[in-house]
């Protein structure tokens, strides 16, 4: 018999960036907030301290910071006629767990989206006509614009202490920055990171080819910085242990470094870790949430009543929680009805290994998670697609996030995969190889979606989330085009060997690509094609707000975190200034 607890004002499911910021804002305005986190509590001290944190085997290979795959995983298939099978280890993407969520183990690549991405469908159709779209593509507008989100982008960037150089200040192009970025209202809070040697070589080559290189915006802090919450960050030491690791230096922006200490001090907030939320409970009308049910580490079930439920548990988990709770109509790809699980998208990654030869010494291990030199010339819609027959694009990044010895050993094609010849090739190429990273758009497609698996269940007996996904042909054509362009830059750098390797299908879960899983609980102006309204509020159950990359109607070239940060503060503002005054649908 579940134990019913005392009602609170707000329950937050998942305490990562979204959960901790929303909880902080609402607790500060006087509401009683409970944060339910399925993983453990953890802090920069002692949990992320070196040398223990620099354990490649534990964190990179065995994915020590990720969701426990033996308790809760996803099933996957490429198409709806296949039978999905559960993932037994994380490879393609890495869903985190524990206090701080993915905000602990991210690299800190801190991009804004473009203005036209928020009105993507309108923009593409205006610029190219409807004919450029393959019939099965399902792009759409966000229902909220860049101009509306700009102040919230700004606020999140100053919370994190993002490092970069403005390229477009209020419409004025600034030297040294990215001239193609969306206009920003003020300069970045901190200067950009140091340029790596590979980045300097890339910059020269890119300039020679007429592109616009700049240093990637980063949330690995470059100087002592005190954020608006009064928390001080330390400069990055370029140790090369960023993604998949916690930061020992208080240098990478994470909930632990930029917001949690403030939240934890507020007596209105209570954190409950090792609390597995089973469902959001609805009343008899199914239009109002009454709270959530969760299980603690002892296996005891609790019912936590709450007036407001915030679902902030990572894109994939958010969608699953909606499906498990019966909130919103599940999407059906055959009839194209229903919305929950619709427009699931990913990231179309490709790489260009660039072997520069033994006389070029890169020292790539001197790296931060977001260090690197990049061009934005081929991102999203920064170039004319009219004669190309596809939409979307990639940014092209040269720089390393690390050169950790267990994972990083680039060898040219044709090298044996083990033995003395392999060792010899590693020796000859380890310090002399740059790997371009192309992060590409993922266009929503009719057949790509999320639903509940009919067969496999988690440790609590609940159905797993089923992912049905393959790369749309549009994205494969896009990847081929941009990857070739990147290879030209690699050759311009004087590389001895360039491996032009665009992304090709089918999508596989067995090689790492990106943890930028998006969509499934899409934001929008039309309830027939979106799960939440422009304030991330559920159309069906107005006292449930869902904030995550699951809101993105399609995926951009850029890393999603900073745009999510803008949505978080935008939603916090809507909650504080509108919803709390008059609870009910905001649209």
């Amino acid at each position: 018999m579940p134990q019913k607890l005392k009602e609170v004002d707000v329950v937050v499911i998942g305490v990562g960036f979204a959960g901790s910021i929303l909880a902080k804002e609402l607790a500060a305005s006087g509401l009683k907030v409970v944060g339910l986190e399925r993983g453990d509590s953890r802090h920069s001290v002692p949990d992320f301290q070196a040398p223990a944190i620099h354990d490649e085997l534990k964190y990179s290979i065995r994915k020590g910071m990720m969701q426990d795959v033996t308790r809760e995983a996803m099933t996957f298939r490429n198409g709806h006629k296949e039978v999905a099978l559960p993932m037994r280890q994380w490879e393609a993407f890495l869903p985190g767990t524990g206090l701080g969520g993915c905000g602990v183990h991210w690299n800190g690549q801190a991009w804004r989206y473009h203005e036209e991405e928020f009105v993507y469908k309108t923009h593409i159709e205006q610029r190219y006509g409807k004919k450029i779209l393959d019939p099965d593509l399902r792009i759409q507008d966000w229902g909220v614009t860049y101009q509306e989100l700009e102040p919230y982008y700004d606020r999140f960037e100053y919370l994190l202490g993002v490092c970069g150089k403005a390229g477009n200040l209020n419409g004025k192009i600034e030297p040294g920055g990215n001239p193609l970025e969306a206009p920003r209202s003020r300069e970045y809070p901190n200067p950009p990171m140091k340029e790596q040697y590979s980045g300097a070589l890339f910059r020269k080559a890119a300039l020679e080819l007429g592109y616009h290189p700049f240093l990637q915006p980063s949330a690995n802090t470059t100087r002592p910085y005190t954020n608006p919450e009064g928390l001080t960050l330390n400069p990055c030491a370029y140790c090369g242990f960023c993604e998949r690791y916690g930061c020992e230096h208080f240098a990478k922006a994470s909930p632990q470094t930029v917001i949690l200490p403030v939240l934890m001090k507020n007596p209105n907030f209570e954190l409950r870790t090792e609390s597995q939320v089973l469902r959001i409970n609805l009343d008899s009308t199914a239009k109002k949430a009454t709270g959530v049910s969760y299980m603690d580490a002892q296996g005891r079930e609790f019912e936590q009543p709450a007036a407001l439920v915030l679902l902030t548990a990572f894109a994939l988990n958010d969608v699953r929680m909606l499906l498990l709770s019966g909130i919103g109509k599940p999407y059906d790809p055959t009839t194209e009805t229903g919305v929950v699980g619709r427009n699931y998208a990913y990231q179309t990654q490709s790489y260009v290994p660039t072997f520069l030869g033994e006389d070029v010494h890169l020292n790539s291990y001197m790296a931060g998670g977001a260090s690197g030199t990049v061009i934005d010339d081929f991102s999203v819609d920064n170039f004319d697609h009219s004669s190309l027959g596809f939409i979307g694009g990639c940014y092209v990044l040269c720089g390393s996030t690390n050169a950790r010895p267990v994972e990083f050993h680039p060898t040219p094609p044709g090298t044996p995969r083990w033995g003395s010849k392999w060792k010899d090739a590693v020796r000859r190429h380890y310090n002399h190889t740059a790997i371009f990273n192309l992060s590409g758009t993922s266009t929503a497609m009719r057949g790509n979606y999320l639903d509940l698996d009919p067969t496999y269940r988690d440790a609590w007996g609940l159905p797993l989330l089923r992912i049905t996904f393959d790369f749309p042909d549009n994205d494969v054509r896009m990847s081929r085009f941009v990857t070739h362009k990147a290879s030209e830059i690699a050759r311009q750098m004087g590389a001895k060997i360039v491996v032009d390797s665009p992304r090709t299908g089918p999508f596989t879960t067995t090689s790492y690509q990106s943890t930028h899983n998006t969509g499934g609980a899409v934001i929008g102006a039309d309830p027939s094609t979106s799960v939440v309204n422009r304030y991330c509020q559920s159309w069906d159950v107005p006292n449930v707000f869902v904030v995550g990359a699951c809101n993105y109607p399609q995926n951009s070239s850029y890393n999603p975190t900073v745009t999510l940060g803008a949505l978080i503060y935008w939603t916090a503002d809507a909650l504080k200034t509108r919803y709390l005054k008059r609870p009910g649908p905001l649209v």
């Binding site: 002692p46 070196a50 002592p224 001080t232 200490p261």
Partner: protein
């Protein structure tokens, strides 16, 4: 009288030590190449005599063996990262690190002399002076801050940068702390804390750390054993 005697005795010890070092280096020149031997000779002359351009002999304060006098007024340099020492000399010369004693000395050294003398000090390995007694409570707190950090003041473990056991990261130019004199360590943290000594990496931790933690880590590192010279 006793005092004079002890000074004479110290001078004698230093002289003998110097001769031993000199003969050791002289012996080394047989096997090492000419460039290295020149470098060592340059270094040894600077350590013993200084330069005519205003650098006072290093040995005057830091001893021939680099162990200084044990008071903590001067840091020990033996086995210290050559990268770090050279960088500090350049900072003294440029005024980036302000120090009235070291500034004219560093200005009196040419670039190759800075390199030579830094590498020379890095190559030394000297027995430590006996460390000052410290209570178990202070030592345990120091060990905790050094190895784990202090969340209450948002300070990371010293050893996250200064290496396991505070042995330093010589190639990266991160100095060792183990075996360094506690007085010197605590004064330097205060220098960072009060902004007299500038460092991107040390600014925030030195600013956040508590007075109690400073005393404890300094005492802890003085007791920690010195890294072996590679």
């Amino acid at each position: 009288m006793t005092k004079t005697h002890s000074i004479v005795r110290t001078m004698f010890v230093l002289l003998v030590a110097g001769l031993i070092v000199a003969s050791y280096l002289a012996a080394q020149t047989v096997t090492s190449n000419k460039a290295t031997s020149n470098k060592s000779q340059i270094a040894l002359r600077i350590v013993a005599e200084g330069t005519t351009r205003g650098a006072v002999a290093c040995a005057r304060c830091h001893g021939f063996d680099g162990a200084s006098d044990g008071s903590g007024a001067f840091p020990r340099l033996d086995g210290q990262s050559a990268q770090y020492l050279a960088e500090q000399l350049r900072h003294f010369a440029s005024g980036a690190r302000r120090n009235a004693l070291m500034e004219p000395i560093a200005k009196g050294l040419k670039d190759d002399e800075i390199e030579a003398v830094s590498q020379y000090c890095a190559s030394l390995h000297t027995l430590a002076f006996p460390s000052r007694p410290v209570s178990e409570r202070v030592r345990d707190l120091g060990k905790q801050v050094a190895e784990v950090g202090d969340l209450s003041v948002r300070v990371q473990a010293c050893e996250s940068c200064h290496g396991p056991n505070g042995g330093g990261e010589p190639i990266a130019g991160v100095p060792y702390l183990s075996g360094q004199y506690s007085h010197y360590i605590s004064v330097q943290i205060q220098m960072f804390r009060q902004g007299y000594r500038k460092s991107q990496q040390m600014f925030v931790p030195a600013h956040n750390i508590s007075e109690q933690d400073i005393v404890a880590v300094a005492a802890y590192f003085e007791q920690a054993s010195r890294p072996a010279v590679k």
